[in-house]
Symmetry: C2
Subunit: 190 residues, 2 copies
DNA sequence: AAAATGACTAAAAAACTAAAACGGTCAATT
DNA sequence: AATTGACCGTTTTAGTTTTTTAGTCATTTT
């Protein structure tokens, strides 16, 4: 009971959004799940969308942490880029909330969800851009167009991790690393 | 009046599908547009879907012709791959019927339309695969996984031609050729 | 006789409506 | 000062009726 009510609400909302998506989650339900009066939610969050934004923000942080955790300073830059990107896309296709949101966008076209997915994509792109920029300034890769490079890398990974398996056997992390090495990084490196 | 009724029907259907999409096109409307009794349509086509399939089949042929027309035997293989792919994707984002079908899939999720778009994508992929296979057997590029190579090339072009311009200035054919040369073809060639 | 037709039908979609559920508020309660 | 849930205007849903549609086929036209 002494637990922070804000935390309770966030946990309840995260669970509900993951289970039922944005539209099918009601504020009454979140209140009941959090053992909190509905009005209390509105002392912490302006409205449903802002509560949703909070949950998605945590999700993005979680993704960034996962990506950071997999980077090892000793390894070559290209290997680390692969590890981080693969982890991000793996997260994207395994995490409950992500799966639900992607499904909700496809099946119901909920606008708030589309916007959030777009936001998440932008966050990932910015993250990649930063990583590449860091290496770029150390002279490891040439200053090609950063925006374009990260965009292409991201699209490539989406294609290899998510799109490919819609009509073929999934590719392992090692296979994808090899493919990227053969196709893409030859172009970036030196 | 002496004109072939089958041709009249196809022209009317093509116009109507392009203007209103699959669902919003009615057989009565096609009949009226073709100056033909509705029953006559059914002497040439089993049902609405088969009429749709006929129109899409023409579209695919048209696309292949456009791609072929742009290939010049004297040019290097990679240049021709670029010309063909760019033309195909350009067609995809400028042709009336294509635009309408992509819109209808996104906004209404019409199943018949999704299936047709998938079919068109497969046709393009097969076309690319054939082109690359031809060059591959002549020893110009190594026998990497054909399926994967054509898949990646296609995804790359979709990303550069269609996705990029959703949040940036569109890229010209020359820019895309340069990007593909720098990033991808260094990996394929030799 | 063969080809073309449009009135017809069963099935699907759209329009309508009443009832339920929803997000958000705020006077009452703790 | 913090929390609450009954309450309100609006939106969604579920159930029903009406309209539209794909496809057929007896009749008409060539």
């Amino acid at each position: 009971m002494a637990t922070d009510r804000r935390k309770l609400i966030i946990e309840a909302a995260a669970k509900s959004f993951s289970l039922f998506g944005f539209k099918a989650t009601t504020m009454d339900q979140v209140a009941k799940l959090a053992n909190v009066g509905k009005g209390t939610i509105y002392t912490f969050f302006k409205n449903k969308e802002e509560l949703f934004a909070e949950i998605v923000s945590s999700l993005v942080n979680e993704m960034k942490n996962e990506a950071e955790a997999v980077i090892q300073p000793g390894l070559p830059f290209t290997e680390n880029v692969h590890r981080a990107l693969f982890r991000l896309l793996e997260f994207r296709s395994h995490h409950q909330l992500m799966i639900k949101l992607i499904q909700e966008e496809k099946e119901m076209g909920t606008i708030a969800v589309s916007e959030m997915l777009q936001h998440i994509e932008n966050e990932i792109l910015t993250y990649i851009k930063q990583k590449i920029e860091g290496a770029s300034s150390k002279g490891i890769i040439p200053k090609t167009d950063l925006e374009l490079t990260s965009f292409l890398l991201f699209k490539m990974y989406i294609a290899l991790v998510s799109d490919w398996e819609k009509s073929h056997e999934p590719l392992s992390s090692e296979q994808i690393a090899e493919i990227i090495k053969v196709f893409l990084l030859k172009g970036i490196k030196n």
